[in-house]
Structures are given as structure tokens and as C-alpha cells.
Symmetry: C2
Subunit: 351 residues, 2 copies
């Protein structure tokens, strides 16, 4: 029921995905009368189970309010379907803060995780076409321990989601020199560097905003405030450039003719820079997989978020992440919550 454009667009996106993937089935949560209408219109009635709820979470509701009074909402019902094992992944276009809050109380954090994070895929120059960045908005704060955990959760995502044996992790800062940045970043820099030795990843050190889409790095670690601003800034920049490209090709009769000939090249470009193709933030650190679609996603964007959910479900990502976090916290959760100690690593490499 969520998203800026309402359930009609969500169901349209579901239909796009259903047409591509014949194994896909949906449990759809919300107002059954409205959902039935949209689902019938798109001809996917036999692919959907509808679970009726009376309430919805609006885009501007406070997470704390939803946690107390949200039991009868479609969002709550969707997450409970993951909790019960009925659904493999929850996909929502709704209120991010509320979705994270309900996910945390219903799915619970993986043992050893202090602060869950939202990871997004970022179009990049790497062979996979994407980098992973986290956190992009689960929380506006992150101390050094959180940043280390983000690094390790991002590591697991890159390894299982992209099949990278030895992902490269960078810590976002305002410069690459060691003396730059906030105090917690300097501490996190040392902690992640130390963790790299025993967790089979390469730490590339501090990186800058310009490195996010580069092939210098696979995983970008930052706090949720900075990550959210960076993500939305990149989307805004891409939209500005797309708009200017359109204007540029509509400038004269000649340029409109050129655009006609350039159409295949422009379409190829459009597909590669379309922010909708990278739609879907993944909640990391919970017992269950939740994909948050952009609130303003259209059917193409919703379908991209569903595609990501399918990939994560098929890779068994949720279980692997939980196992990984458990293994890296086997040395205890107190002072170094997610750091594998040299001894523990040595012990493991012998077995």
C-alpha cells in the first residue's frame, strides 16, 4: 500500500516481474478490495495471495508511533510473513523509518549486531556494474563500532551477492589523508584495517565522494546521514544530466534528427544510468531479509527491487549473513563487537 504512487504502481511492478520470472509468487498485504482490483487488472490473480489489513503506514508517520500502534497495518503484516517463514523476502515502498523500526521489533537483530544498516547498490565502473554502500539511512548516527560492523556486513553482502572472494572496502571521508575527518572515523579506520587481516578483505582506507562509483572499491562504509545525502545527491545529479540531455537534443530540428539516429546509443546509455535499475535498499543485520524500494519508484523501479529480492532469496543471503556475523563475533561482543581476534582466526584456519 506504500510509496508515493500507491498500490496501482506497486502491482504494475509485480506484474512486470511476474512476466519475467515464472517461479515468482507474491503475498500482498493491504486493503483487499483495492488490491484485488489492481491485481485482476494486471492479470496476476493466480500468482498472488492477498492478506487483508485495515490500516496502512503513511509516509510521514513517526516510526515510534508505528511501533506502538501499527499492528494492523499492511507493513506489519508483510514483515510478519517473513518472520513466520511464509515469505522469503519482504519488499516495501513505504516509510523507511517505520519499516526499519517494525523490522527490528518483529525480526530482531542478528546476534552481535548493534545497529542494522541499509545497503544500496551504486552504479560503478566495476565489472559487476555496482558497488555496495552502507549505511544509507537506517540511522543518522554511527560510532566506530557501528562502522566496523557495517564494513563486515557489507563484506558479506559483496561476497554473497556479487561472488567476490576478497572484496575491497573503503571508509568514506573528506580526504584520503589519515589526519582528516571526524574522530570516530580515525578510530574506525584503525579498527577496519586491523579486521582486514583476519577477515579476508582488502581495506583501501579513506575514500572520497568521487570514489563511490569507481573501481577502486567494492564496499563503501559511512554513517546513515552522509550515506543518505550522498545517495540522493547522486540521484539528483543523474536526473539533472538526463534532463539537460533531453533539452540538448530538442534544441533544433537538426538535433532532433540526430537524436533519432542516436536513439539506440541513448537507450543503451539510459539503461545503464537509470537510477531505477539500482532501486532497492537491503536491510542488513536482521533475522530476515527486507528490501526497501524508493518511495517514488514507478513500475520499473518496483520491479528492480523485486528482482533484487529474488537474487537475495536465491543466494540464501540471509542465512549466510547471519552465519558470518556469528562467526566474526565468536570472540565475544563486549569491547570489540565484530572483530575476529588473531587467535580465533588462527584456530579457524587450522580446522
Amino acid at each position: 500500500m506504500g510509496g508515493d504512487l500507491g498500490p496501482a504502481v506497486v502491482v504494475e511492478g509485480m506484474a512486470k516481474s511476474a512476466a519475467i520470472n515464472p517461479d515468482l509468487r507474491f503475498i500482498v498485504h493491504g486493503d483487499s478490495a483495492e488490491l484485488e482490483k489492481h491485481i485482476a487488472k494486471r492479470g496476476i490473480t493466480d500468482r498472488c495471495d492477498i492478506r487483508h489489513t485495515d490500516d496502512v503506514v503513511t509516509m510521514h508517520e513517526k516510526p515510534s508511533h508505528v511501533m506502538r500502534h501499527g499492528k494492523n497495518t499492511s507493513m506489519w503484516s508483510a514483515i510478519d510473513a517473513v518472520r513466520a517463514g511464509d515469505a522469503t523476502v519482504c519488499v516495501s515502498c513505504g516509510n523507511t523509518g517505520a519499516l526499519m523500526a517494525v523490522s527490528m521489533i518483529r525480526l530482531r537483530k542478528v546476534a552481535g549486531v548493534n545497529r542494522p544498516a541499509i545497503a544500496c547498490l551504486w552504479p560503478s565502473r566495476n565489472p559487476s556494474g555496482f558497488n555496495v554502500m552502507l549505511d544509507v539511512g537506517a540511522d543518522i548516527r554511527a560510532d566506530q563500532d557501528d562502522l566496523l560492523q557495517y564494513a563486515l556486513m557489507g563484506l558479506s553482502y559483496a561476497r554473497n551477492g556479487f561472488g567476490l572472494a576478497r572484496p575491497r572496502i573503503g571508509l568514506l571521508n573528506v580526504g584520503t589523508e589519515e589526519h582528516k575527518g571526524r574522530a570516530e572515523l580515525k578510530v574506525a579506520h584503525e579498527m577496519i584495517e586491523a579486521a582486514a587481516k583476519y577477515n579476508d578483505f582488502e581495506y583501501v582506507g579513506f575514500i572520497e565522494g568521487g570514489d563511490i562509483p569507481s573501481d577502486r572499491v567494492d564496499v563503501i562504509v559511512t554513517d546513515g546521514f552522509t550515506g543518505n545525502v550522498a545517495l540522493k545527491t547522486a540521484e539528483g545529479t543523474a536526473n539533472l544530466i538526463s534532463g539537460r540531455m533531453r533539452e540538448s537534443f530538442q534544441h533544433s530540428v537538426f538535433s532532433r534528427f540526430a537524436a533519432l539516429l542516436a536513439y539506440p546509443a541513448l537507450q543503451r546509455l539510459k539503461k545503464r544510468i537509470d537510477p531505477r535499475q539500482a532501486n532497492g535498499g537491503v536491510f542488513l543485520g536482521l533475522n530476515g531479509t527486507v528490501v526497501k524500494s524508493h518511495g517514488s519508484a514507478d513500475a520499473t523501479g518496483v520491479s528492480a527491487a523485486i528482482k533484487l529480492a529474488v537474487q537475495l532469496a536465491q543466494s540464501g543471503f540471509g542465512e549466510k549473513l547471519a552465519a558470518r556475523v556469528a562467526s566474526i563475533t565468536e570472540a565475544g561482543q563486549s569491547s570489540e563487537p565484530a572483530l575476529k581476534t588473531p587467535d580465533a582466526a588462527k584456530g579457524k584456519s587450522n580446522t
Copy 2:
């Protein structure tokens, strides 16, 4: 002497600007033998005075070190030329932190300013083609008082630099709802809103990263850490898209032919999205105008920074900003350092 590409490129940029603007003269600071050679090569010997210095500030030197030991550097000499009134504006491609540190001790802060800021121009959908964003990296911290001062300095920049009678100011956050974001942002939100009533600007409230290049706002206020990451992220995104556009048009014989026909449109586009055209961060809040060019700027970028310096010099921007900050702090600098009180505003509107 600064910048990643060295003085040859800086002098090349000067020559570009000199060819466009016959009134422009340069005082060039650094190794006279090397500078003379480059200047002679570009044929602008009669437009330049060279001031020899033995030392240079390197890109990785700590600002604190430069403040203590930098008296014989080209950077120090360039800023002292502004201090002495010999130069109207200082332009540098050098180490940002050192440039700000030396500017602060040699030019001093304008009375009433706590923390100077660096403002950049951001390509946007507004009629001027640019929005102003600050701080983009003078300091990694900013509390509510600093954010209010940034708003008022940005207001002065937009008014004098763009001739906007009533600039619209937005505060960068991770959402537009009032309950979102860090504590200091919520306080700054109220302070800027209150200041809008008496300082003749429109406060549009919280904005998100996607709004930075939009026409919803003229001035974007944020702390230097977030601003720096956002700026570099946007540059990285623009570079990624440019690269993909090139690939897309080189894909086949047909697309290369299409690119030929599309050349004028693509050139028009390139000019409008070229990050080099928006090169130049302006230091605000000092007794003297300093423009920081991107360290990696090529001759086109250096020339753009010089163009900005000329515009600021011709508008008498430095004096106007000082006057404005003085007027908005006339009610005192203690608890509300840059807020015009209702009484003071009333008094002014009667005179």
C-alpha cells in the same frame, strides 16, 4: 605553484582568462625561474608581476604546520597580496586546509563570524544555472549557530553574486519532515526560520540531496563534512555518466556515425554539465576574497576559477558581505551571533 598538475597548467589557465578579459592582471607567486618560463611560453609576460618565494605548500602538508612554518611559501605570499590590497582576490589550486588556515590568520574573520565557510556553485535548474552550497569543506563540524551564519553568508552571496532580491534557503537533511535529522539541525531549522522574517529571504525548510540541483532553492546550507561528500559524489556521478555516454556512442559503427551528427547537441550538453565550469570554492566570512580552485583543475578549470574571482571583485562582494554580516550582528554576538532581532529589523525598516 599548487594543484595536482603544477604551475604549467595554472599559467595556461591564466592565459585563457587573459585572452578573454583585457583588463585582467596577475600577481603570480612562487619560484620565479619556473614561473617566468611558463608565463613567457604563454605570452602573458606583460600581464604578470612575479613575486618570488622559496617554498611551496604541498598538497598533503598539515594546516597547523603551514601556519607555523609557511611564511616563505607562495600561498602565504598570495594571501598577503590580498591583505595588503595589492590583489583584489586570491586564487589558489593548493591544499584547501592550509589555504583556509593561512587565510584565517592573515585576513582575519569578519567581525561576528565564528566559522568561515567555503561556498561552491552547483549546476541547477534555476535561471542562473547555479545554486550556492555551503559549507563544502572549510570545517568538518558545524553547530546550530554556524549553520545560521552559513545561511546568512550564503544569502549575501546569492544576493550579490546572482542579483536575487529574495533568495530561497534550504537546510540539507535526510528528509523534509521536522522530526528528522540530527539535534543541531532541528535547532538550526528553527533559528533560520526565525531569521527569515527579518533578513528578507525565504526559508524553504529541510531539503534532501536530490533538491541540491533543483529550482526549489537558491542556497543550500550544510556542515562541511556532508557538503564535501555531496560535492565530490556529484562530480563522481557526472564523470561516470560522461564515461558511459562516450562508451555508448563508441559501441558500433552506426553509433559512432550517430555521435558525429549528434556532435553539436553533445557539445552543448558537455558545456552545461562540465564540472570544470563550476570550479571555484569561495571562502566566506574573511576580510578578503579567496577562491579555491579544485586541485585537479586543468586549464579550463583554472580559467573558470579566475572568472569567478573577477565576478566577485567587480561586484564588490567582499565589502558587501562584510557590511551584511556587520548589520546582522549589530544586536550583539553572544547568544545569537548572526540573528537580527525583531527590534533591530524594525528600526532599520523605518530608516
